[in-house]
Every structure is written in structure tokens, then in C-alpha cells.
């Protein structure tokens, strides 16, 4: 897929990040192309979340550059980057706990970007934010006629919170969504219901970067996978290529049998 496009939508050039002595990223290069679903995997602490943070401007880089559609976005403020269309979810969920669930979406719908784009599949009909918010929630798996969208977010269970994270990104009508472990903490059936959703989002032409430990589901949706280890890019390729790679096995599965470990993934 990436061959027929010349310019990557997201590009990381020699990105490094050092947190006072700890090198979280070391000279990472990465191209993400329009329409990709890129998976990033790696052991704990390998720098995956750091990649997300650096792309979305939540941390400043030690060195390197990041481009979005050819424009240099290094050092830009998070809200500027989000405004350009790169959105993210948070690994440690950050919904608005004190608001009712649907109002979580009214906020991104109020943002300048949503006003410009009309919001998620909005097409300019940004009249009633509440209706749109509930539409999005339905899309993402909240039962429409239930009272759940109206419950205070803090009383919602993890599964809904994870979805809210994603919904918040969708509301902005983004070009790139970076999901940080949205499958973790979800039950089997819920993950199963999320997978088609991801595919649908991809069909809408939105580029997705997914960070996951649930390899099985990840491989269902991802067309490319990058493996990080100790802040360094190990390999990049299709899921099968990656799984076949010896280095990856070594770093990610250790000495265990892949099959056995995969039962956990």
C-alpha cells in the first residue's frame, strides 16, 4: 500500500529522547503513509508511548524532526498538532471524569478543528453537538438508547473509558489517530467488537498508529508493524515478516516458545 504514495503522512527523522539519563528513544526513523494501519510493539518500557508523546507534542525532543504531511511539526504545542489532525489516546486513560460521558465529546466538537471540519463525519452539520456526540458514541459501541452516555464518566467501567478515548479522537475528524493500548483492559468480546470499528475508521481514510500488546488482534488490522526495543527500532515490516524475525523473537518473546506466549497476547 505504501508504494503508491510518495509522501508519508507522518515522518520521524532520527528522533531521540533522553529523560535525564534514560534514553527512551534512540535515532528512530519512521514513515507512516496515508491509509496505513501501523502497529508498534515492543517490550514494556521500550519507548512506545514516548513515540506517541513526541509526535503529538506532549514532550519536547532531544533531537530529530517530525513531519506531518511534509510540514515540520517538531516543537509545536499539542493543541496545534491536534488541530492539524493528529490525535491520540492516552495509555493511562484521561477522560473527563466529572462530566457525563457524552459531554466528553462535546468538548472536542467545540474545538476549532471540529468547527472547521464539521466533526466526525460531520459534513458541516455541527448544529447540535449533543446529537453528534451520541452518534459517535453509538458508532463506537455505546448502546444508543441506554442511559450509559448520560452517566458520569467516573462511574463508567474501563471498557467504556477506552472507547471514550477513541471517540474523543474521532470527534475531531482527524487524519491520523494514534492509539496507545486501547485494547488493554478490554474483555475478549469487547476487543472483538473493536476490531471492525478500527477497520471502519481505516476505510474512512484515517491513518492509524496502534500500540498494542494484544498481538493477535493487532495483526488482524495492521498492515505494517514496527518493533521497538530499548528505544531503538528493531525491524519494520508486515506482521508475518516481523514475527519471523529472530531479533524480534529474542527481544519480545525471550526464550519462551512463541506459541505459548501468544496465548497471552
Amino acid at each position: 500500500m505504501n508504494t503508491n504514495q510518495d509522501q508519508p503522512i507522518l515522518r520521524m527523522e532520527n528522533v531521540s529522547k533522553v529523560f535525564g539519563g534514560v534514553t527512551a528513544l534512540r535515532e528512530v526513523n519512521l514513515d507512516v503513509f496515508q491509509g496505513d494501519v501501523l502497529g508498534i510493539i515492543g517490550p514494556n518500557g521500550s519507548g512506545k508511548t514516548t513515540i506517541v508523546n513526541s509526535i503529538t507534542g506532549f514532550i519536547s525532543l532531544t533531537s530529530g524532526r517530525i513531519y506531518f504531511k511534509g510540514k515540520n511539526i517538531t516543537g509545536k504545542k499539542p493543541h496545534k498538532i491536534a488541530d492539524m489532525g493528529v490525535t491520540r489516546t492516552f495509555q493511562i486513560m484521561r477522560p473527563y471524569y466529572s462530566l457525563p460521558a457524552y459531554k466528553n465529546l462535546v468538548i472536542p466538537l467545540f474545538s476549532p478543528r471540529a468547527k472547521r471540519t464539521g466533526g466526525w463525519r460531520g459534513g458541516g452539520r455541527l448544529g447540535d453537538r449533543k446529537t453528534i456526540a451520541i452518534d459517535i458514541l453509538e458508532e463506537i459501541g455505546f448502546e444508543r438508547d441506554s442511559y450509559i452516555p448520560f452517566k458520569t464518566t467516573s462511574t463508567l467501567p474501563t471498557g467504556y473509558l477506552k472507547r471514550l478515548e477513541l471517540a474523543r479522537c474521532l470527534a475531531l475528524q482527524p487524519e491520523v489517530i494514534i492509539c496507545d493500548e486501547i485494547f488493554s483492559g478490554l474483555s475478549m468480546s469487547e476487543i472483538a467488537s473493536m476490531v471492525p470499528l478500527i477497520e471502519r475508521i481505516q476505510d474512512d481514510g484515517i491513518t492509524i498508529v496502534m500500540i498494542e500488546h494484544r498481538l493477535r488482534e493487532l495483526f488482524q488490522v495492521a498492515n505494517r508493524v514496527m518493533v521497538l526495543n530499548f528505544g531503538e527500532k528493531l525491524v519494520e515490516g508486515t506482521p508475518d515478516e516481523v514475527m519471523a524475525n529472530e531479533q524480534v523473537k529474542e527481544a519480545y518473546f525471550g526464550s519462551e516458545k512463541i506459541e505459548e506466549v501468544m496465548t497471552y497476547a
Partner: protein
């Protein structure tokens, strides 16, 4: 060892736990499985007594009223009204979901705070044990816990709970955010803990499959009620359970 009968928890008017009876015998691993909002965390909080603290704080701030009824016995003693800190002293230690580390302290300090109840010798021993369990932690003892990655924090949280010399360890979704390798390691470690130091463990998970091989007995929660319980074998044979919690059909 730990036995709860007719446990009921109301958040204001919402019934979060409905008449749950659970028991955990000595040196047993008990699994509590359930989808989101089944009430796993509520159960864990009730068992460890944190619910009392939550209730107190809510009352003070004029928030929702939490009602808690039922019987809870630990080693034959009624502990329903026991303060959470005393329960920990008695040996019920919870490793909560969302980690709740001491963010501003270093990893080592986190572990040492965990060892508050332990004697010096015990603390040293458990520290070594945690370090062999999670070798990754060895390199980061000086770093602030709040800056660790999600998975690393999870390891510290479990290590910290182990430091508290539990007799019964409550693990609330311990696998969340861990890499497959880490999950495998952890599960094996849990088994090893149970075998080596005769600790009982109650572990809650959404996704039963990784944990299932090591549990002796399991409960399945749905909407706050225990809809099913049984030994591993019994549940294994049940097709509903299989599809819902193991993702296989």
C-alpha cells in the same frame, strides 16, 4: 481462609455487588472473572477494606452514600469493620488496578514503603525475590515511579504488594498493559509464589485465558452477581464460559 458471604455494595442507589459469596482456602489461587463493570474492583475493594475508606471520604465530602453489608471473615475472625490498614497488617494485601504508585518516590522507595509491615530481614528477602521476579526493575531502582512506562509501573505495583508480606494477595487486573512476555513471566511468578510461600491469591481479570491455567477455583461475575463458580475443570467444560472468557468457541 478468606470468606465473604452475602456481600452487597450499593453506590448510592446502584447495586454494584449483589449477594456475592466468595471463599478462598489456604494456598489457593482463586480467579474472579467478569467483563467490564461486572464489579471485580468493587469486590476487591470490599475484601481489602478500602471500601470503608472510600465510604468515609464520600461521606465527608457529601458525595454518594455507600452501603456495605454482608459478612467477611478472615481466618475465622470477623473483619467486616476492620480498618484497611489493619487488614493489611493481618495479611490481606491488595494490588489495585490503575497501579496507584507513589509517583514522587523512586522505585526502590516504593518497594521499601511496601515493606512497611515487614521486618528488616523479611524486607531484604522479599526485595531480592521481587528483583529476581522482575529483573527489569533492577536497572531502574533510582528512577521516580511516576515516570516509568505503563508496564514498568505494573511490575512495581505487584512487587510492592509482595513486599507487604501478604497472607492473601488480591490482584486486580494485574496483566493490564503488560507485554506478552511479561504476562507469561508474571503468571508463572504468581504460581511460584503460591507454591513456594503458601500465600493465597485472588486474581481478577477480564480476559480469563492467560490466568486460567493457574487458578484452582474461579468465580464469574456478571453485573455484580456471581453467575457461575467452580473448579478449573468444571468451568473448562462449560461451553458458555469458554466462548465468553477464553475467546474460543
Amino acid at each position: 481462609m478468606l470468606e465473604a458471604t452475602d456481600l452487597m455494595v450499593f453506590y448510592e442507589n446502584m447495586l454494584a455487588l449483589n449477594n456475592i459469596s466468595i471463599s478462598c482456602r489456604d494456598n489457593q489461587i482463586v480467579g474472579v472473572f467478569g467483563a467490564n463493570s461486572a464489579g471485580k474492583s468493587t469486590l476487591m475493594y470490599s475484601l481489602s477494606g478500602i471500601m470503608l475508606d472510600i465510604r468515609k471520604k464520600e461521606k465527608m465530602a457529601g458525595g454518594e452514600r455507600i452501603t456495605l453489608t454482608g459478612q467477611l471473615t478472615f481466618q475465622g475472625k470477623d473483619i467486616m469493620d476492620m480498618k484497611p490498614s489493619d487488614r493489611a497488617r493481618a495479611g490481606i494485601v491488595l494490588c489495585p488496578e490503575r497501579r496507584r504508585l507513589f509517583k514522587e518516590s523512586s522505585v526502590m522507595e516504593n518497594l521499601r514503603i511496601g515493606g512497611y509491615l515487614a521486618t528488616k530481614a523479611q524486607a531484604r528477602e522479599s526485595l531480592d525475590y521481587v528483583m529476581t521476579l522482575f529483573p527489569a526493575l533492577q536497572k531502574m531502582t533510582k528512577r521516580l515511579a511516576g515516570f516509568l512506562s505503563g508496564g514498568e509501573q505494573q511490575m512495581v505495583a505487584i512487587g510492592r504488594a509482595l513486599m507487604a508480606q501478604p497472607k492473601i494477595l488480591l490482584l486486580d487486573e494485574p496483566l493490564m498493559g503488560l507485554s506478552p512476555l511479561m504476562q507469561a513471566t508474571l503468571i508463572r511468578a504468581v504460581k511460584k509464589i503460591q507454591e513456594q510461600s503458601d500465600i493465597s491469591i485472588i486474581v481478577s481479570e477480564q480476559y480469563a485465558r492467560p490466568v486460567f491455567p493457574i487458578v484452582d477455583y474461579a468465580y464469574i461475575l456478571e453485573n455484580g452477581a456471581a453467575v457461575m463458580e467452580g473448579t478449573r475443570e468444571e468451568l473448562m467444560d462449560n461451553p458458555d464460559v469458554k466462548s465468553a472468557y477464553f475467546g474460543m468457541s
